[in-house]
């Protein structure tokens, strides 16, 4: 399969990339790892006239701690996330999620920015970013603005990105020391998109849950932040009744498609099961 023709650009600065995208207009697409876009181009579901490859922009790479936040450059690959000692220490749920994305070859090329900005509801990072309260730094020719991951997703492949804007960095508040976490993903085979998946981060104190945040993957047109479910758990001792109510609240906001991964009712129930399992692991990992 051979894609349609296009012109290729490889700018070395963010400024020149956004200027190019604005100038070239709707027929231009930014290229990150390319492992979502290039297959679409090969089947001609996507026929951009210009590709603006972001891979030569060094400023878009890297993982640093700035005060109480971790800042991840948008072109940081899944492989680099997995290898990061900083993330393993402070935000281990990112590694736990990244190793469940696709396969090793794709993780060398696939980027966190592409995964978050593409708007594919099957992607794993968006719900995790919502769970973690991350914010996305969007850069356009008019400057920089920040949009919360919880406000970024408008529909399948529809996001808050304006024409000419690219996602340049992701900022994640460092969770409390001793927090519990879990990402549970049901998939048909290694490398598949989720039938349903859940990200959970909690803090505990004296047997009581002091905070809980929950994200759900691939059970709606957008990733979901299960705000009410988290609120039900917060302040509880995570007794069975509270967990059952939280799971019911999470299931209630899902709206999955019936597709080759299963009927909608099944995927909703699996979202609940993934939440239970992720929570169980988060509790086991939480200290204090």
């Amino acid at each position: 399969m051979i894609p349609g023709t296009f012109d290729y650009h490889r700018p070395t600065t963010v400024g020149s990339a956004v200027a190019l995208l604005l100038q070239l207009g709707e027929e231009a697409r930014p290229l990150a790892g390319g492992h979502s876009l290039i297959p679409l181009m090969k089947t001609r579901f996507a026929t951009p006239e210009h590709l603006v490859d972001l891979s030569a922009i060094e400023a878009l790479r890297g993982i640093v701690r700035t005060g109480d936040e971790i800042v991840i450059g948008a072109m940081t690959t899944q492989y680099e996330l997995i290898q990061s000692a900083l993330l393993t220490e402070l935000l281990p749920i990112i590694r736990e999620t990244a190793v469940l994305i696709a396969d090793p070859q794709i993780r060398y090329k696939g980027t966190i920015g592409g995964n978050c900005a593409n708007g594919d509801p099957g992607n794993d990072m968006p719900a995790l970013m919502q769970c973690l309260g991350a914010s996305y730094q969007l850069t356009g020719t008019d400057g920089i603005r920040d949009v919360a991951a919880r406000d970024f997703y408008l529909g399948a492949y529809a996001t808050a990105l304006e024409p000419g804007e690219i996602l340049t960095a992701i900022r994640i508040p460092v969770p409390a020391t001793g927090h519990g976490y879990g990402y549970e993903k049901l998939k048909r085979k290694v490398g598949d998109y989720a039938t349903a998946a859940a990200a959970v981060v909690i803090t505990m104190s004296g047997g009581r849950c002091t905070s809980a945040s929950i994200g759900l993957t691939n059970v709606s047109e957008t990733p979901l932040w299960a705000e009410e479910a988290g609120a039900i758990l917060t302040g509880s001792t995570l007794e069975v009744e509270a967990i059952n109510r939280a799971v019911a609240a999470a299931e209630a906001i899902t709206n999955p498609a019936s597709d080759m991964r299963g009927p909608a009712e099944y995927r909703t129930k699996m979202a609940g099961i993934m939440l239970r399992r992720a929570l169980e692991r988060a509790v086991a990992r939480a200290t204090a």
Partner: protein, 166 residues
């Protein structure tokens, strides 16, 4: 269609070529460079038969444009054997442990296993199986592929290869 000039190093040899931006790396290697070892299996990024090593990463060359490889160093199966022409440890492992039947997936498997062993010279069976999870084989059932990689790891490390009890 305008062609672009790219410079790549393939199997240690500097290569300059003109490519259309839409030319996929696999087509560039097979059709312009006559390196037909990397195979087109699924053409959708699932099977891994097109895997080559690019700047110390295992890359699916059917999902990469040749122009993205401008400046990169690429190794294909044609560049894997020892300089004297004898089989590399991995090639020998696949031969000795019957790690192939039809052989279609083998170039991709070996290139992927090569990078895996570069990063982890003594992987467990579980690490091998996850490490090659982007490469499909429809013949072997993977058992002998895992053994082949264990054989190569032992040979590279200079330790005896002990086949796990059945």
């Amino acid at each position: 269609m305008t062609k672009s000039h790219i410079k790549v190093t393939i199997n240690g040899k500097a290569v300059e070529a003109l490519v259309e931006p839409r030319t996929l790396l696999i087509h560039f290697l097979r059709e312009q460079q006559s390196l037909t070892g990397a195979h087109i299996g699924c053409d959708t990024g699932h099977c891994g038969a097109c895997t080559v090593d690019m700047d110390e990463m295992s890359v699916k060359s059917c999902m990469t444009f040749a122009i993205q490889a401008d400046g990169a160093s690429i190794t294909t199966i044609e560049g894997v054997a020892n300089p004297d022409g004898t089989l590399s440890a991995l090639q020998e492992g696949f031969r000795m442990m019957h790690g192939l039947q039809c052989g279609f997936c083998t170039p991709g498997m070996i290139l992927r296993a090569h990078r895996l062993l570069q990063e982890n010279s003594n992987p467990t069976e579980d690490e091998i199986r996850h490490g090659i999870s982007g490469n499909l084989c429809r013949c072997t059932g993977y058992v002998n592929i895992v053994k082949a990689i264990q054989y190569a790891a032992a040979k590279i490390n200079g330790t005896p290869y002990l086949e796990a009890a059945e």
